[in-house]
Amino acid sequence: MPDPTKSNNKIIAELFTNYSDYLYNYAITRVNDVHIAEDLVQETFISALKGYDSFQSKSKESTWLIAILKNKIIDFYRKKSKQYFQHSLDELQSMDDFFNSKGSWQLDQRPSKWDMDVDKAIEQQEFYETLQQCLVRLNDVQRMAFVMKHLDDEDTDEICKELEITSTNYWVIIHRAKLQLRKCMETNWVKL
């Protein structure tokens, strides 16, 4: 809530203390680059400082900051050229590494049984770290499509519009991302 006795600078410093780690964590999952994530957090607070007077605390401070950061992340992806997207789309089309010509699982890709108990506290941290590392291994288009769906719960049509891809391409991207994530978790977490 705007407090006239405090300067905006001081308020932003407080917000920074409370939310910078949260925002950074949010950014790094989505952009996969420490420096870009730091820059995005910094830009978010600069925008927040400029816009603080018009922030009427209709929403929670964290929600407001995340909304600013989210726009900056989408802008960041928009700036990547369409050519780049096209190139990685071509790369993503083939499923040969997962399935043979008849569409059956390749031998080394067949899922094996998992023990899905992550409730043990010691393992929890390790689990989320691995999950994040596996997300990071997806390429930009995959990660963005996946993250917008799962972490931001956006509409499929909206994601296609923002990433400038067709819905057919979207399903290929997501299908592949899911296969890769599963395999990555099996290799790096389940068999620890």
Partner: protein, 81 residues
Amino acid sequence: MKKGIMLSCEDTTHLVVKKAYEKLSMWDKMRLFMHLGMCKYCSLFEKQNKFIDEQVAKLDEASINDLSQETKEKILKDIQK
């Protein structure tokens, strides 16, 4: 995707993935059900895929990356310029 009732594993996993976001047609649901009933790999994929989805949703709260104190001070100084 093949037209017949027998789906390949590739098509099955595609439908499993799609099912999490969109409603499938009756026909696709039936084909999926049949394949999953007899293919242990695809049914494991379905379970694990669902599990990963649930865990990814918690990732933002897991807060596993923190900014270093040094970086924080630097950013804060830049913001308040």
